[in-house]
């Protein structure tokens, strides 16, 4: 099944979906060495973004979070791709642009389809393909 999305930063990648309904302050919450979220108030606490496709509303807080995304990429701990579900903020867009991390935006109804897929198959699902070039997310 293919889900339509809007390309912000191009590229094609794959990985498991990592869902968060909470926004992320990249500067404050990320462990750069492991890619883990380190914030006890966050539902993804201790989980790593590394090699996953992060699905989250948008970034919040520090403007320096853009450099955090770039550092994750350089440390090989970044997500393979990012899907924003509320709005694509400037921090995430600029961080992905210099890091060549595919970044897309999905509308609410498509977000629901993606979320249902995730809840059915969870973390044991096969990798999904994020094809920002063709503005589609391919589910297995």
């Amino acid at each position: 099944m293919k889900i339509k999305c809007k390309k912000i930063v191009g590229g094609i990648t794959k990985g498991k979906l990592l869902f968060s309904d909470q926004p992320i302050n990249f500067l404050a919450m990320l462990n750069l060495k492991t890619g883990q979220i380190m914030d006890t108030n966050h539902k993804l606490n201790n989980l790593t973004l590394k090699n996953n496709i992060l699905v989250f509303p948008n970034a919040i807080g520090s403007s320096v979070g853009a450099y955090t995304i770039f550092s994750l990429k350089n440390n090989n701990t970044s997500p393979n791709g990012i899907i924003c579900t509320n709005s694509v903020d400037i921090t995430t867009a600029s961080g992905c642009a210099i890091s060549n991390i595919p970044l897309v935006y999905i509308e609410k109804n498509n977000y629901e389809i993606l979320k249902n897929h995730y809840e059915e198959k969870g973390k044991y699902s096969d990798d999904v393909v994020l094809d920002a070039e063709n503005e589609s997310i391919v589910l297995n």
Partner: protein, 387 residues
């Protein structure tokens, strides 16, 4: 997004790799925010200076931009770095060397080394309605809400790109449509001091999903410190980039900030009853803020170590007016060029807990530095920790 022929040439590298990179960043943001075109800006305030925050990746990126010919084309100012350049503290030599390397690249790019997160208190404010590009989150919110300047809540990279090309995508808060709130926060709590304003701001950032929020039941006439604190709170916890203090509109969606929300917000950030050291300045203190602390502490001494973070120009003025010596006699130490937020000077190895009136400092100390925080307003701090 529509680009002019000149902009197309720049993105293809005709005017150098740094310009091309700057345009690539701005075009990605333009796509993300549905901009139709780029518009000129008059001032860029750039963040991403402290080595603690941008690390080796940021350093290498800035080296490349500066070597590739990246140079500013509009007035540009710079956020704080990791320590005071004229009073270098006991930090690892590697940190000092890399921090100074970062600042050298920014200077090569041509950005004025203000090392301040309160550019609005140390540089001339452009005329009302001027488009600027402010990365520092407290400065973006304050510029939109209190200074009648126009900016999106920029990132470190977007502000750097705008400093180089002198333009920004015309979208979101840069357009009139987005500057009129359709949702409002209704204050039903007793907001008195700068800490209360900061907590209200933190709640707003966390709750508000839109770029501009209305703010009702709050006096328009309030101390500047309160406005700074409110702006910093909003900038810390959210993506909202503007507030409008106004009468309630019956068509707007409403969110209440009552005693329950106040307490929940404070409980999240206030993680200690007491602390080992007092810090003032996140955002950095301006001259007026320093005068206020001076009035409260004059003739007394702090009973705990106290660090005051402020821009060098503010310290110089305080020194000329004989104010800094009053504070130094009371035991306070001034640190210029840096800020409490993510400072390498307050580490878990040395301190378990701090005392501050800053919600922004509390959030980053708790989340990044893993240090607990006793949040108290400035009057309470001076009352409890001086004799």
């Amino acid at each position: 997004m529509q680009l002019t022929r000149e902009e197309e040439k720049a993105i293809s590298g005709e005017y150098g790799e740094a310009n091309a990179m700057a345009y690539r960043i701005l075009v990605a943001i333009g796509e993300a925010t549905d901009a139709q075109n780029l518009i000129p800006i008059k001032w860029a305030h750039v963040s991403g200076v402290n080595y603690n925050t941008i690390g080796d990746s940021g350093l290498n990126f800035l080296r490349k931009i500066s070597e590739d010919g990246g140079r500013i084309s509009v007035k540009s100012s710079l956020n704080p770095m990791g320590f005071d350049r004229r009073n270098v503290p006991d930090l690892p030599q590697d940190f000092i060397d890399k921090q100074l390397e970062i600042t050298s690249y920014y200077e090569r790019i041509g950005i004025t080394p203000t090392f301040s997160c309160i550019p609005y208190e140390i540089l001339p404010i452009p005329e009302s309605g001027t488009q600027v590009s402010f990365a520092e989150s407290n400065a973006a919110v304050l510029a939109n809400s209190h200074l009648n300047l126009i900016t999106n809540k920029e990132s470190a990279l977007s502000a750097l790109a705008s400093a180089i090309v002198g333009k920004a995508p015309y979208s979101d808060l840069r357009t009139e449509e987005y500057r009129n709130p359709t949702t409002e926060i209704v204050n039903e709590s007793n907001i008195e001091n700068e800490l209360d304003y900061g907590l209200l701001g933190y709640f707003i950032g966390k709750t508000m999903k839109k770029s501009c929020t209305g703010l009702c039941n709050l006096s328009k006439k309030t101390d500047f410190w309160n406005i700074k604190s409110l702006s910093a709170g909003i900038g810390t916890s959210g993506s909202c980039g503007m507030f409008k203090i106004k009468e309630s509109s019956k068509n707007n969606e409403k969110i209440s900030f009552g005693d329950k929300e106040f307490k929940e917000t404070k409980d999240e950030l206030n993680t200690s009853e007491d602390g080992q050291i007092i810090t003032f300045g996140s955002p950095q203190l301006g001259f007026e803020d320093i005068c206020k602390i001076t009035t409260l502490i004059e003739g007394k001494k702090f009973t705990k170590p106290c660090k005051i973070f402020c821009p060098r120009s503010v310290f110089n003025k305080s020194e000329e007016c004989g104010i800094s010596s009053v504070l130094q006699k009371s035991g306070a130490e001034f640190i210029c060029d840096a800020c409490t937020c993510l400072t390498p000077l307050i580490k878990k190895e040395n301190y378990d807990s701090i005392i501050t009136n800053s919600v922004k400092a509390a959030y980053y100390m708790k989340t990044s530095n893993k240090i607990s925080v006793a949040l108290k307003d400035v009057r309470t701090i001076v009352k409890e920790y001086s004799n």
